[in-house]
């Protein structure tokens, strides 16, 4: 059950230009939150911007949760100017979160496009907490070196980290999806054993679902859409799936890869 609470900002740090990590003290949300869920945050007190902003849960602590976000407009700009000690109006945790199957696909391939990295760090922490012998790989994709985030944290967690940048300023030149395909093919992983966890822009998700056809049915993607209520009531954030329109806020944000319509 989501809660509407006032949390205290513990810290806020600009990791890269325009990209912030904020830690919020909120024991009640931290207690039940799962990787892949999101917080619906009231960025300001005024009527403009009016709506809350849905922001992925990045890390889950004992009494706090972290979010990682880019400044993309008025709401996130206001959010980025908040200082530690200030209060924050939050509804959460919302959405379904990633499903973690025990004894599922033996190669977990996390694919992050740009800010898609945000929910995947929390997922990586959860995956490494469950001490399985699964192979865990993350592909971090971004426009340039400046936009690559959290590579050290993934390294520390013991994931095999691969990097792709569109301009070639770091790692392999190209898209995260192409690199993911290349790695899976070169390592000769069994297609059916590969379980994808992806988050990123829609073109990336669609490319993934085209060439990942046949990979583990447990593969999942986290989707984004503009939201109003965040609770499942207004039907504003739907995406088209094999089973018709589904709400990103309530039926998602995590969907099975095979549900997504690639057209």
């Amino acid at each position: 059950m989501p809660k509407h609470i006032i949390g205290n900002i513990i810290s806020q740090k600009e990791l890269k230009k325009g990209c912030f990590r904020m830690a919020i003290e909120t024991p009640s949300i931290a207690k039940t939150a799962k990787p892949g869920q999101f917080l619906h945050i009231r960025c300001g007190d005024s009527k403009d911007p009016l709506l809350r902003r849905p922001i992925s849960i990045h890390k889950i602590g004992k009494k706090s949760v972290d979010v990682l976000y880019n400044v993309v407009g008025k709401g996130t700009d206001i959010l980025s100017k908040k200082k530690s000690g200030e209060e924050l109006d939050i509804i959460g945790p919302l959405g379904n979160g990633f499903k973690i199957y025990k004894n599922s696909g033996s190669v977990k391939v996390l694919v992050a496009g740009g800010m898609g990295v945000a929910p995947l760090l929390g997922l990586a922490e959860e995956l490494t907490r469950n001490k399985t012998r699964d192979k865990k790989v993350i592909i971090l994709g971004a426009k340039t070196k400046q936009h690559i985030l959290c590579e050290k944290e993934f390294n520390k967690l013991g994931l095999e980290v691969h990097i792709a940048t569109e301009d070639g300023s770091m790692g392999k030149k190209g898209l995260a999806t192409d690199l993911a395909k290349e790695i899976i093919l070169s390592k000769k992983y069994k297609w059916s054993e590969v379980c994808i966890y992806a988050a990123g822009p829609m073109p990336m998700i669609k490319a993934l679902c085209v060439f990942m056809e046949g990979c583990s049915l447990e593969s999942q993607v986290s989707l984004e859409e503009k939201m109003a209520c965040g609770l499942g009531a207004c039907l504003g954030c739907v995406v088209d799936t094999q089973a018709g329109y589904k709400r990103v806020c309530k039926d998602g944000p995590v969907f099975n890869l095979c549900e997504v319509i690639c057209e």
Binding site: D48, K226, A228, L231, A233, V238, Y245
Partner: protein
């Protein structure tokens, strides 16, 4: 002394004048635990139609200065599934239930009303003739004759309280309100959203999959107040006012302009507890102004 907040809309006895606008509260289930639904004066369903509707192509939401656009397109499970699956959820809250209905024709409105008429748990029917997201041609609420025909059709099918929801997208709101009243509506609710657009100059396209949508939120409040005021002076049936109500002060503005009750819409998305906070705010205002009954404030704008 506790002021009296009770109001009656047709035969619907509301313990206070605050309810929610159709489409902004689902069927109540998603707001459980985030607000005290039982404290509301009534609950209003998302609009239902005879057959299920899948709704419009996404994106369906775009934010604008102090407002938002939506183009949901009346996505709903259809009347039978609503009665089976959603009405029991609404009935749990033990407050009056108003079901919002729409149709492709007056026959369809009538058919839905006939089905609802048989259900004892339902207290009122709101006729949505003003959704800007489902028809490309004229809205029913843009035409006096069509408005009257639909109201008559629904009234002939039910003895429940009938509320007609009007559109602001008209040249003369008063003539439409009068047509609805003459056709027998028990109450009038206004305003629905205003047809509007938002453009993405990079994509060179609309921010909505449906191209146009309906504007709601604080941006439309002045327009809504003006229309409530005008209609209040032209009809005798009670008015339920809405359009950008975010707090108790906004609600009181509508009441002073002639609304006997108010509906809270977009505010539910910003603060799910808005409607309940508004009830408390109105009560405190009445106490501080030493007004014994909310009805003493309806339409009492000093001019």
């Amino acid at each position: 002394m506790k002021p009296n907040l009770k109001v009656k809309i047709g035969n619907i006895e509301m313990k206070n004048p605050v309810t929610v606008a159709s489409g902004t509260f689902g069927y109540g289930e998603e707001f459980e635990g985030l607000t005290g639904i039982k404290s509301l004066g009534a609950i209003v369903s998302k609009t239902i139609t005879l057959n299920a509707r899948v709704g419009n192509k996404p994106p369906r939401i775009a934010e604008t200065p102090a407002g938002m656009l939506n183009s949901i397109g009346l996505e709903n499970p259809g009347t039978d599934k609503f009665l089976k699956e959603k009405l029991p959820i609404m009935a749990k809250f033990k407050i009056p239930i108003i079901v919002s209905i729409a149709g492709e024709s007056k026959g369809e409105y009538k058919e839905v009303a006939e089905k609802l008429d048989k259900i004892g748990k339902i207290d009122g029917i709101e006729i949505n003739i003003s959704c800007p997201n489902v028809r490309t041609n004229e809205l029913i609420a843009q035409n006096e004759n069509l408005t009257a025909e639909v109201v008559e059709a629904v009234k002939s099918a039910t003895r429940k309280t009938v509320i007609t929801k009007l559109s602001p997208n008209v040249t003369n709101i008063v003539s439409i309100a009068k047509a609805a009243e003459a056709a027998g509506t028990d109450a009038i609710s206004l305003i629905n959203t205003i047809t509007a657009m938002a453009v993405d100059i990079r994509k060179k396209g609309s921010k909505l999959g449906n191209i146009t949508g309906g504007l709601s939120g604080p941006a439309i409040k002045p327009i809504a107040l003006g229309m409530v005021w005008k209609v209040y002076h032209s009809v005798r049936v009670p008015i339920i006012g809405m359009g950008g109500i975010m707090d108790w002060q906004d609600a009181l503005e509508f009441i002073l302009c002639g609304a006997k009750a108010v509906m809270v819409g977009t505010a539910n998305f910003v603060n799910p507890d808005s409607a309940c906070e508004i009830i408390k705010g109105i009560e405190n205002y009445l106490k501080s102004e030493k007004i014994k009954d909310i009805k003493d404030l309806v339409g009492k704008l000093r001019v």
